[in-house]
Each structure stands twice: as structure tokens, then as C-alpha cells.
């Protein structure tokens, strides 16, 4: 086991609060997109004193998030708390540790999936609560409206915090075990994450641009410029 990977459990509390706030932002309040991975992971990294590492994993997760936008009643992953988990796990790991990015991305994706399920459960709970207040609402009770709204917002806050805490509690020790036994070089680990993330991001943009006349030509022009720029930067 690598001693420098040990988790300071006191760090989990501020991360759980951050996960709660950013989980809330996904739908309930204020939907200002501070929950997008490129922001949320950077903030998680900053909590651990590593905003740059947070940004790196946040950028990778942002590729995945391009695929799933919060369309109305559709079911989608919850990126706010999940990106905090991914950002924190990547920031906790020293630079150039093999598999660090793979593991952080995987943990965030799993947390996003569980988070999406927890949002469905919350919405069902909100419906049950509303049914219980139906008589008061039918009589025009303004307090019932306020109670339902604040109950939903509070429950969502707790949901995001609990999810973050749970995911970090599971993945922090798992991370230590996996990183100690991982046998591929760091370069390959990164290449795998970048390949998968870019494929999902490219497919997402391809899909979004399908309904607009000429948009795919603009995408191809953009790719040409992008590859030229990337070649110059590399």
C-alpha cells in the first residue's frame, strides 16, 4: 500500500457539504450549473488544495456530461455530487500515479449513476408528500406550497451530501487497493480515459447537431481547426 494515499477523514466533511450544494444545483436550486463537472471537480480539488488536478478530471468528466442534459422528466446522471467525488479522488492522488485518472473517472461515473437513481427516488418522495398535502393545496393554503418546496429542497441537499459521503467512503479505500496493484503505465491509463471520454463527447455533439441544417459541416470545420491547434500545442 502507498502510504501517501491515506485518506484524511476530516477532509470528507467539507467535501460532503460541497457535494450537497452542487447536488442541489443540478435541478432544485439555483440550476446555475455550478454542478457541471468542469466547475464542480475544480471546486472539490480546491477544497483539497489542488484546483489544477480538480480541473483536469473535471474536463474529462465534462466530455461525458455533454451527452446527458437535464431534459425535463427524463432520467439523467447527477453530475454535481459525482464530480465532487471524482475531483476529490483525483486531487488526493499524487501526480503521475498510474490509474489515478481512470479510477477517479470510474468513481464519478458510478456516483453519477447512483445519483440519478436517487433523484428519481426523491421525485417520487416529493409526489407522495404533495399527495399528503392535496387537501390543503385545494383550499389554497399558501403555507402548504412553501412547506412542499422547502421540504423538497432540503431533502435534495441531504441527498447530495449523503451520496458524496457514501461514494467517498467506498472509493477512497478501494482507490488505495487498486492503485497499489495497478500494472499498466500512467500514459496508457490516461489514454484509455481520454479515448472513452472523447468518443462519448464526440457522439454527443454529433447527435445534438443532427437536427440543425449544416451544423455537422461546422463540426467538421471545428475539428480541422481543433486538430491544427492541438498539433501546434503538442
Amino acid at each position: 500500500m502507498l502510504p501517501e494515499l491515506a485518506v484524511d477523514w476530516l477532509q470528507l466533511l467539507p467535501l460532503a457539504v460541497l457535494g450537497a450544494v452542487l447536488g442541489l444545483d443540478v435541478v432544485s436550486f439555483p440550476q446555475a450549473m455550478i454542478s457541471r463537472p468542469i466547475v464542480a471537480s475544480t471546486l472539490a480539488g480546491a477544497v483539497l488544495g489542488e484546483p489544477v488536478r480538480g480541473l483536469w478530471i473535471g474536463a474529462a468528466l465534462e466530455f461525458f456530461a455533454l451527452e446527458s442534459m437535464p431534459f425535463g422528466a427524463s432520467r439523467y446522471p447527477e453530475w454535481g455530487s459525482a464530480a465532487v467525488v471524482g475531483g476529490a479522488l483525483f486531487a488526493m492522488t499524487p501526480d503521475n500515479t498510474p490509474a489515478a485518472m481512470t479510477l477517479a473517472a470510474l468513481a464519478a461515473l458510478v456516483a453519477a449513476q447512483v445519483g440519478g437513481l436517487s433523484m428519481v427516488a426523491l421525485r417520487r418522495w416529493n409526489a407522495r408528500l404533495a399527495r399528503g398535502r392535496q387537501a390543503a393545496l385545494a383550499q389554497g393554503d399558501g403555507r402548504a406550497v412553501l412547506t412542499l418546496q422547502f421540504a423538497g429542497i432540503s431533502a435534495d441537499f441531504l441527498r447530495g451530501g449523503a451520496l458524496t459521503l457514501l461514494a467517498l467512503a467506498v472509493f477512497s479505500p478501494l482507490r488505495v487497493a487498486i492503485l497499489a496493484t495497478f500494472t499498466f503505465p500512467n500514459t496508457l491509463s490516461r489514454a484509455v480515459v481520454v479515448s472513452v471520454a472523447s468518443a462519448v463527447g464526440l457522439a454527443a455533439i454529433w447527435k445534438v447537431t443532427a437536427t440543425t441544417h449544416g451544423a455537422r459541416w461546422w463540426l467538421l470545420v471545428g475539428l480541422v481547426i481543433g486538430f491544427a491547434l492541438a498539433g501546434g500545442l503538442g
Binding site: G72, L103, R123, L137, D141, V192, V194, V196, A204, L233
Partner: protein
Amino acid sequence: MSATPALPLRVRAEILLRLLGIQGAWNYETMLGNGIAFAMEPALRRLPGGRGGEAYRQAIARHSGYFNAHPYLASVAVGALARAELDGAPAAQIERFRVAAPGPLGSVGDRLVWAGWLPLCSAVALVAFGLGASPWTVVALFLGLYNLGHLGLRIWGLHAGWEHGLRVAQALGNPVLRNGPPHVARVLALVAGIALPVAAQKLLGEGRVWLGGVLAAVALGALLVSRLQGRFEGWRLAIYVLAAFLLYSVVR
């Protein structure tokens, strides 16, 4: 409809703040319904009889039922319905609006914001990341740009709804809403095209030694995810791929 009555700034500010939490009680039965009543409530206190009066109670009962719309453009409905209530519009007319408004307010918002503005802002932030901007520059760029559109839309929607009342359909003919989505989609396509390789090369770092494999994997992966569209999402598939890679590395 009468000349536009004044809605005090304090009330507008309170409605705007509540609009940020309009989805707080979102559920699969009444959807945005409770949120609409929640956001309108500060205006409804100005009805004859005030808070708890007969008109207030009838309005709350009407607006806490089923309603669905894009959360940002729901501000249009909130403004229009608040105006209708304070103007004393007939209940049947208000109900017709509540039935007719969700469709356009949902589809315009989805195309403009979720399928346009949000991914465009993500792509801009990814370009900035790829070009080496600092974490706080990337975050400020994304949040500043996105919320310019987000808050602008909410503020405009409330104003337009209040200004036009139940005839707010005219406001939805605004060129930004009518012609905006295809223009935003084209800009998104261009910027995302630039963002993907620029951000990917930055993330790859020394992993560039695998560049040939990465390019092939991206092309094949994107094709596969596009083919699976509607049946299996790419991010879910990614969980299996990354888990299999980690597992193989540990047990080999």
C-alpha cells in the same frame, strides 16, 4: 387587458429569487406545478383580501396543480399568470393558458438552453482548458457566460410575461427564441469541434505516445455510441470499459 400595472421591485426580486428554486418540489405527478405557485406567491399577496383572502386562496389552488415547462422559461408563465390574476382575468381563460403554455415553453427552452447554450458554454470552457487557462479562469469563463444567458432568460421571461399577460405568445415570437436555437447549434458545432481535440491533447499529456490508438478508439467509440443511440448511453458504456480496464490491469 388594462395598461401594465406596476409590480414593485421588491416583489419582482422576490419572485426572481423564488424562480431559482422553482423545481424544488419537482415530481412525476404535478411536475413544476407547486413551483409555479411558489414563485407567484409574492405577487398573489397583492390580490384583494391579501394573503389568505378568498382571491389568494383560489389562485394558489389553481396554480399548485400540474404544470410543466422549461425551468428558465417558466418565468414567462409566472409573469403572465401573476398579471392575469391581478387583472382579475376569468378562471376559465387562465386555465386555457395553463393548458396551452407548457408545450412551447418546454420545447423552446430545451432546444435553446439544454441542447444549445449549455453545451456551447461547456465547449468554450474546454477550449480554454486546452489552451492552458488557469482553473479559476476556466470556471469564471464558464459560469459567467452560462449565467449571462441563464439569468438573462429568467429576467426577460418574467418581464415579458408580466408585460403581455395571457397574450404572451407574441413574446415567444422573439427572434432570439424563434431563430436562436439553429444559430446556437451551428456555433456549438464549430466550438465543440475545436474543443474536443484541444482539450483531449491537454488531458493526454505524456499519453500522446498512444496517439494513434487514441484516435482509432475515439472514431470507433463515437461510431458505436452513435449507433447505440436511444438504447444505451455512452457514459454507461464507459463504466463497463473503465471497470474492465482496471480489473484486467489488477488481475493480469
